[in-house]
């Protein structure tokens, strides 16, 4: 008798957590939310991609034509949308970079260190440590203001037991209320609330050459990734690495000492190449000039893995070049700056 009805309630296991029992025809997302798991989502119609996850095991029925949203590679990798999938058997899914520990943690600004004329490293002392993966980000809110929250990537790797002091690279932006508030030197000591960790930009340890592209304050997660690779003694340490750092002019270059330190600890060739897009002609700059995407080619072998963070146009151009030179789209990982793409990337 049980056999007749037994498959009506399927179980779903998300990221090795305790399996959840779903109601008949309930989507993975609705089931997870009902059980109090705050997995990422936004539109619930298969239009935004925030709830992407990988189907590791089992069968699902999908409500919508995924090709509206997912790339061919994602479909081949068995990526599904949690809001559009109901289990047809017990299933196991993986949400990359997500843990059920996404949390609001209070803290205060403890240091604002200018790095260039418009970028500061802002450090926040948290009430309790936060554990995250290098490459991830948090949403930052100025607790006692009405300024809309913004997302910032961790600029350094985490510690095994998490970090009490976390930091971000924040650039002054015209009209960017949150950023401009954070880098205001008068705001040392002011209360902030951070929500995270979030995002699926993190190091995949491949035994292949690696190309890193950073634009402006997008250097933060790239530095964190490199620190993590060194800390873990990762396989990619023994692979050639290239870091292309796209900025406007010489005065926008920062963190070179730190990067040189990482470079010398690398166990294979490590090329660090700032690329200046608006350096005046005839200046003393002897390095590369132009757009980062102009220099991707030389380093984009067929087997290389790419990690990129920066403004969308720079990333789009660089990714296109990488693909044109034979890199596979599922070996290219990126984190775009714009608000919408935070959710989609």
């Amino acid at each position: 008798m049980l056999g007749l009805f037994g498959n009506k309630e399927n179980r779903v296991m998300i990221n090795d957590l305790e399996p959840l029992v779903l109601k008949r025809n309930e989507t993975i997302l609705n089931g997870a939310l009902r059980h109090g798991l705050k997995i990422p989502y936004s539109c619930k119609v298969g239009g935004c991609g925030t709830c992407k996850c990988r189907l590791v095991e089992g069968k699902v029925k999908e409500f919508t034509d995924k090709s509206y949203l997912l790339t061919k590679q994602e479909i081949q990798r068995n990526i599904i949308l949690a809001c559009q999938s109901t289990p047809r058997s017990d299933v196991v899914v993986e949400i990359e970079g997500w843990t059920d520990s996404i949390d609001d943690v209070r803290g205060s600004i403890c240091n604002i260190e200018p790095l260039t004329h418009d970028i500061c490293e802002v450090s926040v002392e948290l009430e309790r440590p936060m554990t995250y993966r290098a490459g991830q980000y948090v949403t930052v809110r100025a607790t006692d203001t009405d300024i809309p929250a913004r997302c910032y990537s961790f600029a350094h790797r985490s510690e095994p037991d998490g970090r009490r002091t976390i930091s971000f690279f924040v650039r002054a932006v015209e009209g960017g209320r949150m950023s401009n508030w954070l880098i205001d030197e008068h705001h040392t000591g002011r209360a902030v609330t951070v929500t995270g960790p979030q995002g699926n930009f993190f190091l995949r340890d491949h035994d292949q050459p690696v190309v890193l592209v950073a634009g402006g304050s997008g250097l933060a997660p790239i530095v964190a990734l490199l620190e993590q690779a060194l800390e873990d003694g990762a396989q990619i340490l023994r692979q050639p690495a290239t870091l292309l750092f796209g900025v406007r002019s010489q005065r926008d270059i920062y963190y070179t000492d730190h990067i040189t330190g990482l470079q010398s600890a690398w166990k294979n060739e490590f090329v660090f190449e700032p690329v200046l897009s608006a350096e005046p002609d005839g200046s003393d700059w002897a390095g590369k000039r132009g757009l980062v995407s102009d220099f991707v080619e030389a380093h984009s072998g067929r087997e290389a893995t790419g990690y990129l963070c920066g403004p969308p146009p720079m990333l789009d151009a660089a990714i296109n070049q990488m693909i044109r030179h034979g890199m596979k789209t599922d070996s290219i990982f990126f984190d775009k700056f714009s608000d919408q793409s935070r959710a989609a990337a």
Binding site: S42, K44, K61, T64, Y68, L69, Q84, D146, R177, A343
Partner: protein, 392 residues
Amino acid sequence: MIRYLRFYVSPVVMFLIAFAMFFGGIWLWLPAASYVLGISLLDQLVPLDLDEDDYRVPFLLDVALYLSTPAALAMFFALFWVAGSGTQDALGAGAWMQSLIGVDVVALRNQTPWYHFVFMFPAIAIPITAAGGLAGHELTHRTWKPFDLWLGRFTMALNWGIAFPIEHVYGHHAYIGTKTDPATAARGDSVYAHVPKAMYRTIVNAWEIETTRLDKLGASFFSPRNVLLRLGVIAFAMTVAAYLLSGWMGVLFYLTVCVLTKVALEALNYVEHYGIVRVPTEPVQPRHSWNCNHLISSIFTYNLTRHSHHHADAQVPFQKLRAYEGQPKIPGGFMTAYLTVWVPPLWRKRITPKLREWDEKYASQDERALAAEANERSRWAELTASSMVQAA
């Protein structure tokens, strides 16, 4: 039983409106106009519909939806028929009616003064939108039921609504409340300012969404997989039918109604989402739509009025949508608000207190800041006053 039957009222009324049009004169527009005004008026007289009980036979409600397609076709046929002149009698429908009820409807039509036709266009645009667009909308969301999805898209394509079924699901629902959404009107925009923008951006978005998808599939634009093209074929076939039945006048009548139904649909979105703001990365919540529990509007729109729940979880079929009485309310109920928007100063007067209430009562902390910016841009003094009070 009445709970099921009430959703059959809409297609039945559509058939009656179509039937009446054959009699020419005031019958071209009076029934349709009465339908619009009647809904608005009755909404004020009957109690709110807070019914959330289960329906045990959802199939009966599906049939009510499916009937919308023949109802829409009947209205289009009536339109093509009245576009005829002289001895034209599309499919011999006039002769058939004369044999049936003894009234020479061809003569009645030919004697009808021109201004009745002018009244007819805006009047019938709304019921045609209801028959084609609303049931089509509900069915278009059922992406997991191939027949429903097909019928929904087919019905919307009958009036050249080929972009909507794509953009609405994969665009509007993802972007609702943000500046990227074609259908969310900015505070301060009148319906006349908003609708042309919304119509244009809906088409552009649908085009981009579909071509991106085809690109991923490795299919060319001229592929049978192109949903826009497939729907375009249906719309083109309707245009040809208009020509074959009533010549160029038929095509003119048809295309005029097509444009007006697009306007009607965007005006509907204008009402449902006016001035609401959302942080793009935050989940869509019931507060991100204007909700309505007025009974008559709900019956005639297949509960589209329960918009708060619809956007918070668009997979839910219309009969399971919950009332969400505590959510932001459309002033005066759906149909009344729908009529109000055409008089911008009146709409402004009606919606301003609702927007202020939204900012104060429903908005999250981040949304309050976005709302304050939207209020500034609206240049509506009474809204900017409210944001100053908040900041103080």
